[in-house]
């Protein structure tokens, strides 16, 4: 394939390092995390979710997790995507408005209701709606729900996406995108933290 492994790149894992050897013990997981990334950002069919929509959602979702090499990577992807660059400032502004702490949300009414936790119900700001467009506005609002309060999701949220012009197939791809990034940003963070601890051990030895 010739493409650099994206998780290794973002986590700073060098060929021949201890973490490289550990990752090599799960070759299918490593190869298919990479294939997931490629299927989402270099898809065989982008008719339901355009490349700039994917880049915009990725920059937003990773930005909501706080600054990291992952955020910088997807911000750059948006900045260099054909129709994405004009969206960059709007996405940055929406990340600042959307940042909070999760997970929160409500359970189905019953014994778990005592664990219900209120939090931000994010909506795109009125002034940025025109530049983003109805479809991307709905996507960002749903992406924020998926990132911070997935247990709040309801069938009404699916109807809102359909009403904003998303097809059922588009919703599946878009949901996979947000969910995959939730995985990727955590693997990268986890491996970076572990890698840093190995570095300290080596330096102290």
């Amino acid at each position: 394939m010739g493409t650099l492994d994206i998780i290794d790149t973002l986590a700073g894992i060098e060929p021949g390092s201890a973490l490289d050897a550990i990752r090599a013990r799960r070759p299918q997981a490593r190869e298919n995390a990479q294939k997931s990334y490629l299927a989402l950002f270099d898809p065989v069919d982008s008719s339901e979710v355009s490349l700039s929509e994917r880049a915009a959602v990725a920059a937003f979702v990773t930005g909501l997790h706080g600054e990291s090499p992952v955020v910088a990577f997807y911000r750059e992807k948006l900045a260099t995507s054909a129709d994405g660059a004009p969206l960059l400032e709007a996405i940055k502004g929406e990340i600042a408005r959307g940042r909070t702490s999760g997970p929160y949300g409500a359970y189905p009414a019953g014994p778990l209701s005592i664990e219900d936790k209120a939090g931000l119900i994010y909506r795109v700001s009125a002034e940025r709606r025109p530049v983003l467009g109805a479809k991307l506005v709905a996507a960002l609002e749903h992406a924020h729900l998926l990132v911070f309060r997935p247990r709040d999701a309801s069938s009404a949220d699916m109807k809102a996406l359909l009403a904003a012009g998303w097809s059922a197939t588009g919703i599946v791809t878009f949901s996979q995108l947000v969910a995959f990034l939730s995985f990727q940003v955590r693997v990268v963070t986890g491996l970076r933290v572990l890698g840093a601890s190995l570095g300290r051990t080596a330096a102290g030895a």
């Binding site: 973490l19 550990i22 013990r25 799960r26 070759p27 299918q28 997981a29 190869e31 298919n32 995390a33 294939k35 997931s36 490629l38 299927a39 065989v44 909501l64 997790h65 706080g66 702490s101 997970p103 949300g105 359970y107 189905p108 009414a109 019953g110 014994p111 778990l112 664990e115 729900l145 998926l146 911070f148 997935p150 247990r151 999701a153 069938s155 949220d157 699916m158 059922a168 197939t169 919703i171 599946v172 791809t173 949901s175 996979q176 947000v178 969910a179 995959f180 939730s182 995985f183 990727q184 940003v185 955590r186 693997v187 963070t189 986890g190 491996l191 933290v193 572990l194 840093a196 601890s197």
Partner: protein, 194 residues
């Protein structure tokens, strides 16, 4: 909603077997092509509403499925299966995915033979005291699931003190991280039914 909800969703975390009902249309079995079957990986998954929904994007589903299988089923070395399932169950408990928690709590019970401890994780939540090793796995999984991510050097130290080596810690990171993927699909595209 004029009629009563016919789905009968569970209102507590449980190890019982649950169903799952999609909120948007899965592909009908009769419309599946070879591209879709490649995405399903196991042909038998064509019977599942969840997988026939995800197979609307076959390339992503195939890669996701193969990632999942290697993280959880490749037990030639590394963390015991029971503790990978514990990481999945703890992540699901914290994110609030009753369906995912039911499946992976069941697996954790099966592989650990510690059904009562697993049930305490479901009943009492992520603060349940399950002994040093399981506590470290649960705490690390929860720290990874938080947004912003709260996982740090303290989690690594606790896992090491509990006896996990670096490869086992990577299995915790992979297993817990993967359920931040799975939980979001299960919670947002449909709902569990009893």
């Amino acid at each position: 909603m004029s009629a009563a909800n016919p789905i009968n969703p569970p209102v507590v975390f449980t190890q019982d077997e649950l169903g799952w009902v999609s909120w948007i249309d899965p592909l009908p079995e009769t419309e599946l092509t070879e591209r879709h079957f490649a995405g399903l990986v196991d042909r038998a998954r064509a019977k599942s509403e969840y997988f026939r929904l995800l197979v609307r994007d076959p390339e992503v589903l195939e890669a996701r499925t193969r990632t999942d299988k290697d993280i959880f089923y490749n037990v030639a070395d590394g963390l015991p299966r029971a503790e990978r399932e514990l990481a999945a169950a703890a992540t699901s408990r914290y994110n609030g995915c009753i369906y995912c928690a039911s499946v992976h709590a069941r697996f954790a019970s099966t592989y650990s033979k510690r059904r009562d401890d697993v049930q305490r994780l479901l009943d009492e939540g992520i603060k349940a005291d399950l002994g040093e090793r399981w506590n470290a796995v649960v705490k690390a999984s929860v720290a990874l699931a938080a947004t912003p991510i709260a996982f740090g050097p303290d989690n690594i130290e606790e896992l090491r003190r509990a006896g996990l080596d670096d490869a086992e810690i990577v299995d915790v990171i992979n297993g817990a991280s993967f359920f931040n993927w799975a939980n979001r699909l299960m919670l947002s595209l449909g709902e569990p039914s009893k």
